[in-house]
Assembly symmetry: C2
Homo-oligomer: 414 residues x 2
């Protein structure tokens, strides 16, 4: 194999080039690993890849020796909530004393507390804190991140949050996907007439947001005490009509039917799924909906069980993994730790886990046409880790293995 | 309060000066926190501390503004195994498929695999990898660390490991305590006559190590399939006679009686204790033995339960927390993550957890006379974290909050 003439950059001698390319996957090599791999970049894209010994290294090109490192597609965190103000670290002690997440919410804590602080915060204040959080995610190797609004819950505050995310999308090196989630909670002023809030979202917020092109996706918290299936359907159908792609928080605490709805509407992903039924799994399969699992939340909330990852995988549904970074149920930007949690607590194999934060993460954002695996023609978004195998990345936990990250072929400095 | 004349350094405006000073502790302020605190350092020691508004800031002194940060005593990791060669990341997948730690050990994996690689490794190779691991620990705020040999299991390899640790003790900025743990496993060549190995330890290895002053502590893995209580007693009594302080791995997988022995011998600490009996708790209390708990191991090995931290705390036993960093059951240098695990999975309060990695960590190393809390006269070993409260340090998990670290008043660069 010979690289295209005058590439911009060649990375070589990677202990494992973890392609996650379905065409290279075999039962014995489930991630299509090329040992001692090399990868050629031109104009921000991958133009060739293979074993290092198959390449000529031209004198005139930048070459990077990756000995002692493994190369993965840039990681994809497909579910985060980084725009919020306020501090909920006091709830941590309360939960340790046995108070549940729902009980804290009913006592004025939870999302409502964050909403009050977020409404008060200036756009600059929200921008500064969200930027720091996305930079931290990047430092763990995340080159594409989905980010949700949903701590404003009134037109001004939701638009303020989305403007912050749009500004970060323009300014940060990583890809920032923006999701409108006005249906994250029923705001206190609509407590006694939640359907009027759904009316507001469908007739006022969603059309305005669509007109200003403030969001790529629309998401709804479909859960007992939050939005019913019927309300979720209204919101998501309206969003679809307005050209947004759909996501849904489903079956996190109860089996309400949100995953079934996701399949029916052809949502891009249904997320959480701890209480998903067998029928809903079939509905998701028919709808081509990705299952996005968030083991950090079950870990942090000490839930009695995790999402049934094995069942979903066995049903042939693509499983993505994400942090669910948020101030109430998973205050962690560390996708690498989430990967170890998925192995330990959801019995996923290291290969399934890595696919969950690369190719399947890309599928959960409908971006798998240009990223999520190392293939000729895809974006040169790369994460390099100090490890001799991808097993080591998960086995040696709690530390940041990242050595460098490339976005469209450009090395990113921290 | 006025600082001593011409201090070397004043740190001020810390959101919380977390003293962990028993004289300042109250039920409402269990860590003796001074809000907006300041601390004065002279000749490597703390010479004054209090509220920032009570201090004059002299022009001629180095002053550090700690706004947005909290100040803790340098963290103490009182149980680690950093000297080893080889790679056991392949065992991670085996364990995920349901193979137990003991079953992997019986199949030639586990400690024995690491022993074979460590025996083969050169002293330089062991030094390089152990140094990197201790530097990683320091990067999380650990200014005092206990380190064990125990992957050599023959005289040459144990001495080689201890020499590596003694070299690191001299060279690294943090305090490195060295523990001899020839009784970490029965080496394969003594499999059928383990008492002969105990003879070797007592008559050959221990006297030589004591003569060369290679170790401060002696530790034994007292466990079914490893060392019996009678064997552990022989080894520890010999070590005591030779002037070493005592530690013991006790009741990790079974209730064998090691904690009882620890109390009886007045061991400095008994570690693990997942299966400790009520009688053994009383024995530890009488012996003044610290309980060192290692929740990362239960987390990583997916054990059915954790050590009974609340029972030990309620009995009035000082509880220390440590990583148990090792290649088989807890490959993580991140003490901050271990702290969150202790909250979530052992129902310890944030205050108890912080005491576990400061004052009680110092007690587990018999170093509480000069460190483990911020008090006038103690060493100025400090860890500064990007947080507004100590709750936040635990609540916002999986990321490294450290901003800077001081050892005997000197800022350490990474």
């Amino acid at each position: 194999m010979t690289p295209t003439p005058q590439p911009d950059l060649i990375l070589y001698n990677a202990e494992q080039l973890v392609t996650v390319d379905p065409a290279r996957m075999t039962p014995d090599n489930p991630l299509g690993v090329i040992p001692k791999g090399a990868l050629v970049i031109k104009d921000g894209c991958i133009t060739a890849l293979g074993g290092t010994c198959d390449f000529d290294l031209p004198d005139t090109t930048n070459t990077i020796d990756c000995t002692g490192q493994i190369l993965l597609p840039g990681l994809i965190d497909s579910h985060t909530h980084p725009v919020f103000a306020g501090d909920r670290s006091d709830e941590f002690e309360k939960r340790l004393q046995g108070t549940s997440y729902l009980a804290i919410a009913q006592a004025g804590g939870g999302i409502k507390k964050t909403v009050a602080a977020t409404r008060k915060a200036s756009e600059l204040e929200l921008y500064i804190s969200a930027k720091r959080r996305l930079e931290t995610m990047l430092s763990f190797g995340v080159t594409t991140v989905e980010t949700k609004s949903g701590y404003g819950l009134d037109s001004n505050s939701e638009e303020k949050s989305l403007r912050v995310l749009q500004k970060l999308k323009r300014e940060l090196p990583q890809t920032v996907c923006v999701t409108y989630m006005g249906a994250h909670d029923i705001p206190i002023e609509y407590k006694d007439h939640p359907d009027s809030y759904v009316d507001l979202l469908c007739h006022d917020q969603l059309p305005k947001i669509a007109e200003q092109k403030l969001a790529d996706f629309c998401d709804v918290f479909c859960e007992t005490g939050y939005f019913s299936v019927a309300q979720s359907r209204r919101i998501l159908e309206t969003a679809r009509t307005l050209g947004m792609k759909l996501k849904i928080h489903a079956e996190e605490f109860t089996d309400l039917g949100g995953a079934q709805l996701a399949g029916e509407l052809g949502a891009v992903s249904a997320d959480h799924l701890l209480h998903i039924s067998d029928d809903s799994i079939q509905a998701m399969k028919q709808g081509g909906t990705v299952a996005t699992l968030l083991p950090g939340t079950a870990f942090y909330l000490k839930l009695p069980h995790y999402a049934p990852a094995r069942k979903l995988l066995d049903a042939g549904i693509p499983v993505a993994l994400a942090t669910d970074f948020n101030p109430g149920s998973c205050m962690s930007e560390n996708i690498q730790l989430i990967m170890t949690l998925a192995c330990l607590n959801m019995n996923m194999t290291p290969a399934e886990v890595i696919q969950g934060v690369t190719l399947n993460g890309a599928k959960a954002l409908d971006l798998h046409h240009d990223r999520g695996s190392l293939e000729v023609g895809k974006r040169a978004d790369l994460a390099c880790f100090n490890a001799s195998s991808y097993n080591e990345l998960l086995y040696h936990f709690g530390v940041n293995h990242l050595t460098s990250v490339y976005i469209q072929g450009r090395p990113i400095s921290f």
